[in-house]
């Protein structure tokens, strides 16, 4: 940034720079265990312990049975395995922590031990692990081998056409589950129908949920629009549980109710929910979350969404808060629960913090890496922005490619996605017309198909959606009506896909732990179990999957580079001629500066990385040399393409002993005959930002060195661009063309260069 340069400032101005970084928008809080601000060491966290009479637990984690609250009662009754508790609780926590990262200790053994551990014991064990160990243990302990991902599909207008298009888009990217919610809660039925129809476009088996009020969510599931539920929230203290309007028994009843209707269900919990709700009991995030997770397993939920959900930003404000989020995910999978591992609500304005947070999960894998990747733009996310959103989709795809890690998604091309969006909009319009819910016109449809977000659409508004939603609910429209409407209007494949989805209910196969649908088949912890016992084991990508992940858009290859260069060739032919005058000899004129050109200069390559034509560059250098009173000679070398050696070879042919080395990509050097190869006079290494004026100055300085005058070196100013990232892919390809033309012992060629001046 530009600084106020008035003298007398008493602040190091770097702090002004830091103040402007997005990071400084984040809240950071001091550790304050008395007030609930502690990741892993709460003021009132109990020591692990238990007493029992036979199968009856009479004390747990320092609380006698008479003082048990609802949560203690539920955990003691339904979580603690009486056959395991003596053995598990007697083990040293540090020893168990070592077992978690020991490739020789099987997952099954550790799961059995976890079922005999109290919440305080589980928390104490994982607190022994550092972040790397937690990620490793997570990778070993998670239930299903193949990683997956979940998307949010919402928009700021609750527009059903856009929901359908965005649901289909998310399916195309490979999300295994999609989740919607509403801006206006009464629009739930419309959102559910729209995402349901959209999710049937292109591929079958993507599971869908509509996050809504508990009772209504179950009704929407009964109508067949949704196939799973996730927002069955539990809390780690009794006070927050009651404020959440539920109890362990009501939530366990709901878990059974979902299963009784053949609908997949997981619970939700996460660090700092209790702190946000004002009932933290001076206990740490980790201990309270351990209680939540024991309770979820006790209820018989197959899985959990955890890792700091709405509370993630608050957890991240504390020292060790992000490590704690990883630790609670580890407890979830250690307990043998499916884990949709957070990475959901955006916990920082810093892109570096967001990227750092996702990495352990990306490389460890997870049942659902994000429990809500915003597949739509941030402003369209009705849950609040996610860690990753529509804006950052390609960043995530590239991270998969960088680390060769399967993050569950697959890059898709422009034409594919546009076709899918159009199809989804047409399918949804057909359903709306057939069911007399609305009659979208061509302009509405067209605006939605190409819209990046709801700012771009001319479609339904929330108020209009409310009446559509009421209609669906009151007329008791079901998924069968949607299937019939699709079929009626020729959307055969979509009708089949939706029917496939509702038929999953009959077997209940997808009710088992960590179930998703891949290639039309249910895979879960039962038939795709994660078994890791060291390198080569566990989940490994197939060659085909690796190729899918690598296939991002806009990649370079040598053919493409040469094709681009060829387009400049004819224009350049009209501006310059290079005439070979035979073998170049050492000159004797002390005013002479030799410019040594690389093998492909003007023969295969015609532009510098900054986009200057090579004829212009030659003209500028010659002008600079001549204006300073020297003479320019041009030589092409064939024995090397390296700038330093080009420069030194040129210097040794020059009567003045000063030469310029110049590569076709624009990198240049001023050299002198007595110097070591890489100890030059001036180097112009940043070709992409080197201007024509700089080349003129380069020629002038070479001439000044030749006449032994004082020289002010030319500095090509950089503003910190990552030139390596921007250009090195192309540079390496171009340079390979240069080196491919070199021959050992090739003689230097004297060139007569005629600039015809057409464009310089």
């Amino acid at each position: 940034m530009q600084h106020d340069n008035t003298p007398g400032s008493n602040r190091w101005r770097r702090f002004d720079d830091w103040d402007q970084r997005p990071l400084r928008l984040d809240n950071f809080a001091v550790e304050d265990p008395e007030n609930g601000f502690s990741a892993m060491h709460g003021a009132k966290d109990p020591a692990p312990g238990f007493r029992r009479n036979g199968h009856h637990i009479s004390s747990m984690d320092g609380v006698a049975e008479e003082q048990f609250d609802m949560i203690d009662l539920f955990i003691a009754r339904y979580h603690l395995d009486p056959d395991m508790i003596d053995e598990a609780m007697a083990m040293e926590s540090a020893d168990v922590a070592r077992m978690l990262i020991d490739i020789n200790v099987p997952r099954e053994k550790l799961v059995r031990l976890a079922h005999g551990m109290t919440p305080a014991k589980l928390a104490e064990v994982v607190a022994h692990l550092n972040s790397l160990e937690i990620a490793f243990a997570y990778s070993k302990m998670r239930a299903r081998a193949t990683p997956g991902n979940q998307a949010h599909v919402t928009n700021a207008k609750d527009d059903p056409l856009q929901l359908a298009a965005d649901a289909a888009t998310a399916v195309a990217f490979g999300f295994d589950e999609i989740e919607t919610t509403m801006r206006v809660s009464r629009n739930s039925w419309s959102n559910a129908l729209a995402c349901c129809v959209g999710s049937a476009v292109g591929r079958k088996g993507t599971l869908f949920q509509c996050s809504s009020e508990e009772a209504e969510e179950l009704q929407i599931g009964m109508a067949g629009f949704t196939s799973y539920a996730e927002t069955v929230s539990v809390y780690g203290t009794e006070g927050s549980f009651i404020d959440g309007d539920d109890t362990p028994w009501s939530k366990a009843f709901l878990a059974a109710a979902y299963a009784s209707r053949g609908i997949k269900m997981r619970c939700t919990s996460g660090a700092a929910a209790e702190l946000l709700m004002g009932f933290h009991e001076a206990k740490s995030l980790l201990y309270l979350e351990a209680r939540c997770l024991c309770m979820q397993r006790a209820m018989g939920a197959q899985g959990t969404q955890n890792g700091g959900i709405d509370g993630a930003p608050l957890a991240a404000s504390m020292p060790g808060g992000v490590r704690e989020l990883m630790a609670e995910n580890l407890i979830a999978v250690w307990l043998d629960l499916e884990c949709a591992s957070g990475n959901d609500a955006r916990s920082s304005e810093s892109e570096i913090r967001v990227g750092a947070k996702i990495l352990p999960f990306l490389i460890a894998g997870s049942d659902l890496i994000c429990s809500g990747f915003g597949s739509i733009l941030k402003y369209d996310n009705s849950f609040n922005p996610s860690s990753f959103n529509g804006e950052e989709m390609e960043d995530y795809l590239v991270l998969q490619r960088d680390f060769e890690a399967d993050g569950g998604l697959t890059p898709r091309g422009e034409e594919t996605l546009l076709a899918i969006r159009k199809r989804a909009v047409e399918a949804m319009s057909a359903v709306m017309e057939e069911l007399d819910l609305g009659h979208p016109d061509e302009d509405m449809k067209a605006s939605v198909a190409v819209a990046s977000g709801s700012d771009d659409t001319r479609s339904y508004l929330p108020g209009q959606v409310s009446s559509i939603s009421a209609d669906i609910s009151q007329r008791e429209i079901t998924v069968l009506d949607a299937i019939r409407a699709l079929h009626q209007r020729g959307f055969e494949e979509e009708a089949e896909n939706l029917l496939f989805l509702v038929k999953l209910r009959l077997s209940g196969d997808y009710l088992q732990t960590s179930a998703i649908v891949r290639d039309g088949k249910v895979i879960s912890a039962i038939n795709d179990p994660n078994r890791y016992d060291g390198p080569g084991s566990g989940y490994r990508m197939s060659e085909q999957r690796r190729a899918e992940i690598a296939n991002i858009r806009g990649v370079l290859d040598q053919r493409e580079v040469l094709r681009t260069e060829a387009t400049y060739e004819s224009a350049e032919a009209g501006r310059v001629t290079y005439r070979n005058m035979g073998k170049a000899k050492k000159g004797s004129d002390t005013r002479e500066v030799v410019v040594g050109l690389s093998p492909a200069f003007g023969t295969r390559l015609f532009r510098t990385l900054a986009g200057h034509s090579l004829s212009q560059v030659l003209g500028e250098i010659r002008t600079g040399i001549e204006q300073a009173g020297a003479i320019a000679r041009f030589v092409r070398f064939g024995h090397t393409a390296d700038t330093s050696f080009l420069g030194l070879s040129a210097a040794r042919l020059a009567g003045s002993g000063v030469g310029i080395g110049l590569q076709a990509k624009g990198t240049a050097v001023i050299h002198q005959r007595d110097r070591l190869p890489h100890n030059n006079l001036e180097l112009f290494s940043n070709a992409p930002i080197t201007s024509l004026q700089h080349y003129c100055s380069l020629g002038r300085n070479a001439a000044l060195y030749a006449s032994s005058q004082d020289v002010e070196p030319v500095v090509v100013p950089t503003r910190g661009e990552a030139l390596g990232a921007r250009f090195h892919g192309r540079v390496a390809l171009i340079y390979a063309i240069e080196t491919g033309l070199t021959r050992d012992g090739a003689e230097p060629e004297e060139l007569a260069i005629e600039l015809t001046g057409a464009a310089s």
Binding site: D69, M70, L73, R77, Y78, H79, D81, E108, V111, E214, A215, L218, Q219, M222, A223, G224, E238, I242, D245, D246, T247, W249, S250, A252, F253, L254, A256, A257, A259, S260, G262, R297, A298, G300, A301, D336, T478, V479, L480, I483, R484, H487, E492, A495, E496, V502, K503, L504, R505, L506, S507, G508, D509, L511, Q512, T513, K521, S524, I526, N527
Partner: protein
Amino acid sequence: MSDRKLELDDYPLAETRPGEVRGARGLSLDDITLDAVMAGDVSMEDLRITSKALKQQAEIAQAAGRRALAANFLRAAELTGVPQEVIMATYELLRPGRATDKQVMMDAAHRLKSEFGAERMARFVEEAAYVYDRRGLFKTRY
């Protein structure tokens, strides 16, 4: 079908025994086709899971060492026959402060058992009544 307990190899049921997987009115997976849907021969009832399927999934969960999950499937198996409005009413009653005394919940539990044969779930609701009483949840919240 034999009476042996199902094992991990029996999973997924839709692939290992597609002919046996049926909806609440007896239609099999093969019966539920797009043509049947278009002909009006398929209702939402046909897309309801049966208590048998849930009991089979409970056996598979048990074989995988997931005792708590299996117990949930068995409670769910009992609820397959319970109408939606009873499910919703029971859930509502279990939320904090909805019941103002223990007896209302004991009555709901009794109904689950006597009308729908949901014995496990009835015991579960009775247990909740006992816990709510002990933790003072029988008070008006709004």
